[in-house]
Symmetry: C2
Subunit: 257 residues, 2 copies
Amino acid sequence: MRYARVSAGGRAVWGRVGETDVELLSGSPIEGDAQVIGTVPRDTALWLPPVVPPVFYAVGMNYPRHIAHAGAAVPDRPEVGYRANNALTGHGSPIVRPAGVEGRFEAEPELVAVIGRTLKHATHDDARAAVFGWTIGNDVSARTWQHQDRSFWRSKNSDTFKPMGPWIETDVDALAQTTTLRVNGEQRASFPTGDMVFDPFDHIVEITRHITLQPGDVLWMGAESTCQLEPGDTVEVEISGIGVLSNPVHPEGNHPS
Amino acid sequence: MRYARVSAGGRAVWGRVGETDVELLSGSPIEGDAQVIGTVPRDTALWLPPVVPPVFYAVGMNYPRHIAHAGAAVPDRPEVGYRANNALTGHGSPIVRPAGVEGRFEAEPELVAVIGRTLKHATHDDARAAVFGWTIGNDVSARTWQHQDRSFWRSKNSDTFKPMGPWIETDVDALAQTTTLRVNGEQRASFPTGDMVFDPFDHIVEITRHITLQPGDVLWMGAESTCQLEPGDTVEVEISGIGVLSNPVHPEGNHPS
């Protein structure tokens, strides 16, 4: 099943995505039984981030080729960092490059696990059972700020820097898929989605030794490859079996400050 | 006015805190006009974190004496990091020291600004008008993990590591107050709350150059001093004009994993 959040009548509404329509739901499918309350044609849907997480977890160095390229050490245990909800935006909405950003402004195509239940001290079996479904993330990064700043606050968390979507796919073997990154229709990268140092379940087991995961939490799994983005581009991240997350890149307008 | 969230009938309910009672409210005072729907005696209230933020911002090095003590460079501009909502706990609830933590396990007493409105590209005047009120945070930190790990994920974000409360005070000149840290009734630190390199309004102006702040976001402002905590201790953070945040420290029980 594919679940999304769309804008309907000015509100964020959960939906079940079919071939031609999105059935609007009375509540969150993560929380329980949601009833169908209407439909919108799929090709006119305004897609929102498919979930706004209580906590937004992100894995850094997690693909062997990325780690080798960066000259970094291979992690000996799973660790996570954080991203911020203000940066989330949906499929089809613009990524805005801030006026002050120059140089490398890059896309990072990532698999995202969406947590479906409250979880602590999880076994691997618990971890597998706790994933509600899978979506796609683009961890847009302004490298100059990433190198200048003490944290990733603006380099990875400026408004619109975290496209996520288009939907959550509940029936897919996510680690057996292929991740593809395209700009203006041209392929820039393609790699096996599951070629990770530590997979999502390894991370969930480690995180929940100390932390309670909650329904709706998301775990972004890192990327093997990146590519440059320029205003005017359209960037697509495809994960086979899940879907395509597509966003245009816009320049920021002028602001008084 | 003092606003809190308390547990009533198994639900989280907003309340207005008086001398002897907490008036329960129909909704969030940050969002608009909430109606009184009941009362509970103040001395029996079960205090929750006074807000669960959409984004949880935290300032690191921000007090000159702390920076000098750490041998760090004085920041030349405001920056922020993040903490995670799973770690929040309320006034009176235990801080649980994980079984794997040894060595320095410390309290950091912090002023917290609670954002009241949506805000981007703020001036200093906008920033002042956007603060709904002030509360108190204790940025509990496991230093061994902080030094071992690539991020602060478990050193500062394990469950119960972020006591916040007891309430939000809307009528106080927060930067003119005194912050006091006590363990088992003994004073361990006392410093002028406002003796910061960059104040909350400086941070809000800088953050909102790139990031939209939202109602309920919190900004923890850093600490001048820290002190060691042991299981069995009770730690209090007082900020004059706001209140006292008190939490017992418990050892973690045994877990199968």
